[in-house]
Amino acid sequence: MIALIDYGAGNLTSVRKALAAIGANVETPRVPSDLGQAEGVIVLGVGNFQQTAVLNQEWRDAIVGVVERGRPLLGICLGLQWLFEGSSEAPGCQGLSLMSGQCEQLKPEWPYKVPHVGWNELEFPRASRLFEGIRNRSQVYFTHSYAAPVTDETTAVTTHVVPFASAVERGQVYGVQFHPEKSGDVGLRILKNFLNNAV
């Protein structure tokens, strides 16, 4: 069972449908202790970083507990940003700090618009299990205004005004800034790669 965390930040319908299409058994845990049986966990989010504050220490411990059992965690969009120490969008709000660095706002600079909306390229600085079978420079769908810094944990780089981490990986912790559930066949393959890691 893959646990899809619902903390009220954005809609889960699309990711649920995409996971169903690739045959995943998905459940939405109501309380942190429900994560005890999870083979993998996905944290999705859109909107403001402040919304992640709903995920209190109990939830954080349960999510990290899944990783400590050797099971994978995938953060999508705001879920990737939450893996970092924090974001300038909500300075008082702590991230999970599984990745080092702070997320910063993308600044519009003509002709680049913010939010960064649309299909952009992934460049792979190194191999990642998440991108098995995915060609370098494949395009995926983004929609966000804040982005994570490029670090040693970056497995995909995308450039919009500045280069940012469009995917990260550290052990069994993964994050993608784009929306795999909205990125056509490429996105479904990425979700399937995550699933293969989990079950």
Partner: protein
């Protein structure tokens, strides 16, 4: 580099895709889920479902249509037409849409933009602007182009962006359904005035028109309906042509 997006619009009435000229005289163009799937296979970047009747009966049928389309395609889906309240937006999003497009409702109550952005994020709140030239001014129209307002398109786009809109869907009423090309002057004026992406709509009649609106209209995305519905040009042909012209697209 960020690709210029090609968006197919499905004007839906009572569960069927229809298309009119200058917002009037609708004719039938097929089943929305089938059309959406065909476009997806051809490489369309996004799909917009626009409820062109927005009657009570039509609204119920719309949720079923959105759900049917969302089951078949895994690319961004926007729903517009008849979104009057947070509840209408929630119904569309729960049915499988990522974004909702506000038009008349945003003009009547601009705070609705901010409410939706706060609840679902700015990326989910598109403000649709229907504009028509009069005495050198692009005047904003409400109610599917039926009612003129006091607002001017560039100013309204700026206000919408400030209130939290994530994108502007800009339709030229003068060009809608005429196949005479996008209104590049209107699109460029709005695109240069706001920091958020602008989707150009209304008037696509040839592949060349898309190249024009990306180059001269500074559009971030272009939306069309009839040019795709009746298989006049495959989406792939369009993208190959844009690619050959050096315009970044997803192939």
């Amino acid at each position: 580099m960020l690709s210029k997006r090609i968006i197919a619009c499905l004007d839906v009435r009572n569960g069927q895709v229809v298309k009119g000229v200058n917002f009037e005289g609708l004719r039938n163009a097929g089943d929305p889920a089938e059309l959406a799937e065909r476009y997806n296979q051809e490489g369309i970047d996004e799909v917009v479902i626009l409820d062109v009747t927005a009657t009570i009966e039509g609204r119920r049928a719309l949720a079923a249509t959105v759900s049917a389309v969302a089951k078949r395609i895994f690319i961004p889906l926007t729903v517009g037409g008849g979104i009057r309240s947070e509840d209408d937006a929630a119904a569309a999003i729960d049915a499988g849409a990522e974004k909702v497009s506000l038009n008349t409702a945003a003009l009547t109550d601009p705070s609705l933009i901010t409410k939706l952005a706060a609840r679902y994020g700015s990326q989910a709140a598109i403000v649709a602007i229907d504009a028509k030239w009069a005495d050198g001014k692009a005047i904003v129209y409400a109610r599917s182009g039926q009612a003129g307002t006091q607002r001017e398109a560039v100013e309204w786009a700026k206000e919408a962006a400030e209130r939290g809109a994530g994108e502007i869907l800009l339709t030229s009423i003068d060009r809608d359904g005429t196949k005479s090309g996008f209104d590049c002057a209107l699109t460029a004026a709005v695109s240069r005035a706001v920091p958020i992406p602008v989707i150009a709509s209304g008037g696509a009649g040839s592949l060349e028109h898309f190249a024009e609106v990306f180059r001269d209209g500074c559009a971030d995305a272009a939306l069309a309906a009839s040019i795709f519905h009746f298989s006049e040009h495959a989406v792939h042909d369009l993208k190959m042509m844009l690619h050959d012209r050096g315009i970044p697209v997803r192939l």
